[in-house]
């Protein structure tokens, strides 16, 4: 029972269908289910919202267009016209994280993005991709990213290691920021939910707190998805333009 009521119990991976292909565990878990639901929800949300191809959009289509414009503007502002090829990726990334974050707020559901491995796969793939992109576009000149122009040469021994470490820490900060935010918020909700039950009638106080916290968590769910997308744009911009 103690484990059942642990605030971390909600993050447990539960295998729904055990699957093993060539020694690789590809079991369909509650996490996989939420990913599939997220992908399906995003697709339905976008496709049904635009099914009328309305010249004057209704509410639903307006929201779809808003999401599109938000990402399009972010890509344009941060990368410029050369960001066009990465738009579909950034859009998919933003929508996936947003839906995973928000769907995870539904009670008894599962938050895909609260697992560091999920966010790290994204961050690591982006890190590798951006680094490859930088070398493809600039060759060895890509190393000048670690030494901004206009800096006195004698600062190089100090500056280059700092820049290099900060570059290497990008995938870590990117993935930890999202996963930690999700995990902390959900844990806190769960803890206070336990207080509501334990305090009986006095539980109204933590209940009110939960309502407010829930609103904050919804904001964070959106904000963290957006931050992830913006930082990805910035990294791509660095690789394309070297110096901003």
């Amino acid at each position: 029972m103690a484990a059942e009521h642990s605030p971390l119990e909600q993050f447990a991976i539960k295998r729904i269908v055990e699957l093993d292909v060539g020694g690789v565990d590809i079991s369909f878990t509650n996490s996989s289910a939420m990913m599939v639901i997220a992908v399906a929800s995003i697709t339905l949300f976008l496709m049904l919202g635009t099914r009328r191809h309305a010249l004057i959009p209704g509410r639903w289509q307006s929201v779809v267009e808003l999401a599109y414009e938000l990402v399009a503007r972010t890509v344009r502002d941060n990368i410029g016209i050369e960001g066009r090829p990465y738009f579909a990726f950034i859009f998919s990334l933003f929508m996936f994280l947003l839906f995973c974050n928000v769907l995870g707020l539904i009670p008894y559901s599962f938050t895909v993005t609260s697992h560091i491995i999920v966010t790290f796969v994204f961050a690591g793939a982006i890190f590798v991709g951006v680094t490859v992109l930088g070398f493809v576009r600039h060759g060895l000149k890509f190393f000048s990213l670690f030494f901004p122009p206009g800096v006195p040469i004698y600062l190089a021994p100090l500056l280059v290691p700092i820049e290099f470490i900060s570059y290497l820490s990008r995938p870590i900060s990117l993935s930890v920021r999202l996963a930690a935010n999700m995990m902390a918020g959900h844990t806190m909700l769960k803890v206070f939910a336990g207080f509501v039950v334990a305090l009986g009638l006095m539980g109204v106080a933590p209940l009110i707190f939960i309502v407010l916290l829930y609103a904050l968590e919804t904001l964070i769910a959106f904000l963290q998805a957006y931050v992830f997308a913006v930082l990805t744009c910035l990294y791509i911009n660095d690789a394309i333009h070297l110096h901003h």
Partner: protein
């Protein structure tokens, strides 16, 4: 801590790759082209409408200019007509006045001639009356009958002196 269960990492990674690849495919092939199409269609429509509005505005401006020039022309013409009418009235009035003056002058001259005639006639009658009176007086006074011619000559002489 469930996040540190390394045994759960592989299925999560596998499903994440599958799910995200599917999503990327659906977005890049289906959803995004559709939204792009909607937005571009709208933008084209807006541009077209804007263009049309501009054209109509230009036409309206041109029509207004035409109308104003027409009004100005009409005003110029009306002023011309007015001036002409004023001129013609003026000249007719002067003509009539001149005619009247001429007629009056003629009548005055005629009247003066008539008066002169009447006076001459009166003078002539006066001379006859005077000669008659002179003859009668001479006959009564000196018993001498004076002929009519002599009496008139005498009176003429007296009058002329």
């Amino acid at each position: 801590m469930p996040q540190m269960e390394f045994a759960d990492y592989v299925p999560q990674i596998v499903w994440l790759v599958v799910a995200f690849a599917t999503l990327y495919f659906l977005m890049s092939q289906l959803a995004l082209p559709r939204i792009t199409d909607i937005l571009e269609t709208r933008q084209r429509r807006l541009d077209h409408d804007l263009e049309l509005t501009e054209k109509l505005r230009d036409e309206a401006t041109a029509a207004l200019a035409e109308y104003e020039s027409a009004v100005a022309e009409a005003r110029g013409k009306s002023e011309l007509i007015l001036a002409e009418a004023r001129e013609s009235i003026h000249s007719e009035t002067r003509q009539r006045l001149d005619d009247l003056n001429a007629r009056l002058e003629g009548e005055i001259a005629e009247s003066e001639a008539r008066i002169r005639n009447i006076m001459t006639q009166a003078m002539g009658e006066l001379a006859v009356a005077a000669s008659d009176a002179a003859r009668a007086a001479t006959e009564r006074l000196i018993g001498f009958e004076v002929s009519e011619e002599r009496a008139r000559d005498a009176i003429d002489t007296v009058r002329k002196s």
